[in-house]
């Protein structure tokens, strides 16, 4: 087990490094930099541009340096010989946001924590909803509710989440009087955390969690149902039934346990899906999570901010996959002992 853990950790680090390089390359790819677009904007407003200040900014942020040096600077910070001076993403300093004129860490603030909360809540939602439905559908194959759930699942897969978000927001407002947009009632913004604020958060959170989780739920139901059906048609289930095992025990004891593997393994594909969904949904609902700020940063070429967000999402995903691999290894000895992967 320990060997497996260490091995996975060692794969994770180069993966993250490659991702960070890729992200930085993409963010840097457009011609020009933030300062240029800023100058263009200032000139269009008829303001004067202070060339000295520009040069100073460019030098401070290393924008005049070649691409790979900028990357190294962003990733590893400044070094004096072997002595780490300051900055660097791996030391927890994601750089400076030009647009907001603040360190990225300050801009990002609460949004990262809220993103994590929403993501975890969505994963839990997907599990809680899809598990009973999938088990029911598999055990009652071609029954009425099986068809109903399958139909709903297809609709869930096919409808863009932003539309569901809009419609749900509207009805949440009409039926429950929930204020539109955001994760909190207006009066709680900038207030210290307390029970009332938490309650307001929970009241607002169900809509985004539902919307973000819906496509994932549909996919999960389909996969778990297929897996469970495969198991249920096997000989040992027939034998067990013939020997008089009660149906519920027969279901729970073996087939369900085996078909649960993909349930955990799938988090690897579920998490990127959820995060992708959360970007669009959060823009529509103006949630204080990564989506809107990322979009804004991308539009304005605010590279450190956008890069940090993309990187953060990738890290979240990679860690999620790592945890699911660990859980899978604990569940399934075949993986633990390296006899071929279960996927």
């Amino acid at each position: 087990m320990l060997r497996y853990l260490v091995q996975r950790l060692f794969v994770m680090i180069p993966t993250l490094l490659v991702i960070s390089f890729l992200v930085f390359a993409i963010i840097q790819a457009p011609p020009g930099d933030y300062l240029e677009s800023m100058v263009a904007e200032m000139q269009s407003r008829g303001e004067n541009v202070n060339q000295e200040k520009l040069d100073f900014l460019r030098k401070t942020y290393g924008l005049d340096q070649p691409f790979y040096l900028q990357y190294l600077h962003w990733m590893f910070g400044d070094w004096d010989g072997l002595q780490h001076v300051n900055g660097g993403l791996i030391f927890g300093d994601p750089g400076y946001s030009f647009e907001h004129n603040l360190p990225v860490a300050d801009v990002v603030g609460d949004t990262l924590a809220l993103t994590v909360v929403i993501s975890i809540a969505s994963v839990l939602f997907v599990w809680v909803i899809s598990f009973p439905i999938a088990v029911y559908s598999a055990t009652h194959q071609y029954g009425f509710f099986d068809y109903v759930f399958t139909f709903l699942g297809y609709i869930g897969l096919a409808t863009p989440s932003f539309l569901i978000a809009l419609v749900l927001l509207y009805f949440a407002n009409i039926w429950f009087g929930t204020s539109i947009g955001g994760l909190l009632d207006p009066q709680y913004i900038d207030q210290p955390w307390g029970w009332a604020k938490l309650g307001s958060l929970l009241e607002h959170m169900w809509v985004p969690v539902l919307v973000i989780g819906l496509p994932g739920t549909a996919g999960m139901i389909r996969r778990l149902r297929a897996n469970l059906l495969d198991e249920l048609n096997k000989q040992y289930v027939v034998t067990g039934r013939a020997k008089g095992l009660p149906p519920f025990r027969l279901l729970v004891k073996y087939p369900l346990r085996i078909s649960l593997n993909p349930f955990i393994a799938d988090i690897g594909s579920l998490l990127p899906e959820l995060i992708s969904g959360s970007v669009v949904v959060s823009v529509v609902m103006s949630l204080p999570i990564t989506g809107p700020i990322l979009l804004e940063a991308l539009r304005a070429q605010d590279m450190y901010l956008a890069g940090s967000f993309l990187m953060f999402m990738a890290v979240l995903t990679v860690i999620g996959i790592f945890l699911s691999d660990l859980a899978l290894a604990m569940l399934d000895p075949r993986i633990r002992f390296g006899a071929g992967s279960g996927r």
Partner: protein, 390 residues
């Protein structure tokens, strides 16, 4: 000596008198023979035909793809023709009978008034004024595929009236026509994107599966890295790269290529695993022993075996791309006006007021759902048919 029975009754024997053909077991009925002799592709077709929902979906998709060839003719208005008098007009119903009298398909004209309290435009059908819809008529001029000038439409608004089957938008443009024009972009984007990812997937999956070793390792790692970055933010970042001064057509191609660039990983995985397992199959070993060249093995023996699977997975990849484009354009980083896709149309339905006041602006979502569902069903059918020997 034992004496035989006095009167030798012949034993009743049970052998049938009918002529006996020892090979009757092996004779097959014409239908069976047809099935046995059928080529692989024919068997797939037979299998696919059984999947009713898939066949139906294929028909729906075929109809949609054919209709985008004749958009200019089929839509009553031009893409950009504005009707300043009817802004945010709700959908008009098509009637057949007026006061119990049959007068063919017609619509009632709208009476327009402004609600001074809510500042909402109120349209009420004027029951006194039935306006018959014209067919094969002269309407807005268009350039068919940007080449041939024309004026003839399948149906046009009544003389002096309007025909908004699905309502109109903030500039009084007909939603139905715009959805028709949007189909041209939205439907082709999936096809081109899938072609890009198909080529990439075949290339990288084929390399990994054929050479194995470090090539395989490299491709596998690359796939893992790409898969662990959430697609949509990556698409967004890539779409933000596209220069602002590109023409809309270039942006369109840029977007399709971006969609394909990220999406090939699934196909590459499928190709690789199929190649790896097929390489070890008996027929492949046999071909090798008979002296077939690698090229012959790959193209004559391996390719047909996994091509069907690839087509099925490619079909299942298209809806993801259509949804991706819709999301990108919805967020304003995808295709830009004046080119119109369903996502661009939905961009107008971005806020809650639309849901409350002008719900018909959300209608472009209906074709999106239909197309995505149809591709999913057809892909399922193809996947089941891809292995007809099961």
């Amino acid at each position: 000596m034992i004496e035989m029975n006095a009167d030798p009754q012949p034993l009743k024997h049970t052998v049938s008198e009918a002529p006996f053909d020892p090979y009757s077991v092996e004779v097959v009925s014409p239908e069976q023979e047809k099935l046995y002799l059928a080529s692989q592709w024919r068997m797939m077709w037979l299998r696919f035909k059984k999947h009713r929902l898939a066949v139906f979906s294929a028909f729906v998709l075929a109809a949609m793809y054919i209709s985008i060839l004749f958009v200019e003719f089929l839509s009553p208005y031009n893409l950009h023709s504005r009707n300043v008098d009817s802004i945010f007009a709700p959908p008009q119903r098509v009637h057949l009978f007026d006061k119990g009298e049959f007068i063919g398909p017609f619509v009632y004209a709208y009476n327009y008034s402004l609600d001074m309290e809510t500042l909402k435009r109120v349209y009420t059908p004027n029951l006194e004024k039935p306006q018959p819809i014209r067919f094969f008529c002269r309407g807005d001029t268009y350039k068919f595929w940007g080449l041939i000038e024309g004026q003839t439409h399948l149906f046009c608004p009544p003389n002096g009236g309007t025909l908004f089957l699905l309502g109109s938008d903030r500039l009084g443009r007909d939603m139905f026509s715009r959805i028709m024009y949007g189909a041209r972009i939205s439907l082709t984007i999936g096809l081109i994107g899938v072609t890009v990812s198909f080529v990439l997937g075949m290339l990288f999956g084929g390399l990994a599966g054929y050479y194995g070793g470090w090539v395989d390792d490299l491709v596998q790692r690359a796939i893992e890295v790409l898969r662990s970055i959430p697609h949509l933010p990556l698409w967004l970042a890539l779409a933000a790269i596209l220069p602002v001064n590109w023409s809309p057509l270039l942006v369109y191609f840029g977007i399709t290529i971006i969609l394909g660039l990220i999406d090939w990983t699934g196909l590459a995985r499928a190709v690789r695993s199929r190649l790896l397992s097929l390489r070890e199959e008996d027929f492949c070993v046999a071909a090798e022993l008979m002296g077939a060249s690698p090229a012959r093995i790959i193209f004559r023996h391996l390719m047909p075996s996994f091509m069907s699977h690839l087509i099925a997975s490619a079909t299942l990849a298209i809806p993801g791309m259509i949804l991706g484009e819709t999301a990108l354009s919805f967020l304003g980083l995808g295709i830009r006006a004046p080119i119109v896709s369903w996502g661009v149309l939905l961009n107008e339905a971005q806020n809650i007021q639309v849901v409350a006041l002008y719900p018909w602006l959300m209608l472009p979502i209906v074709p999106v759902i239909i197309v995505v569902l149809a591709f999913n069903f057809m892909g399922d059918g193809l996947r089941d048919a891809a292995d007809p020997y099961k």
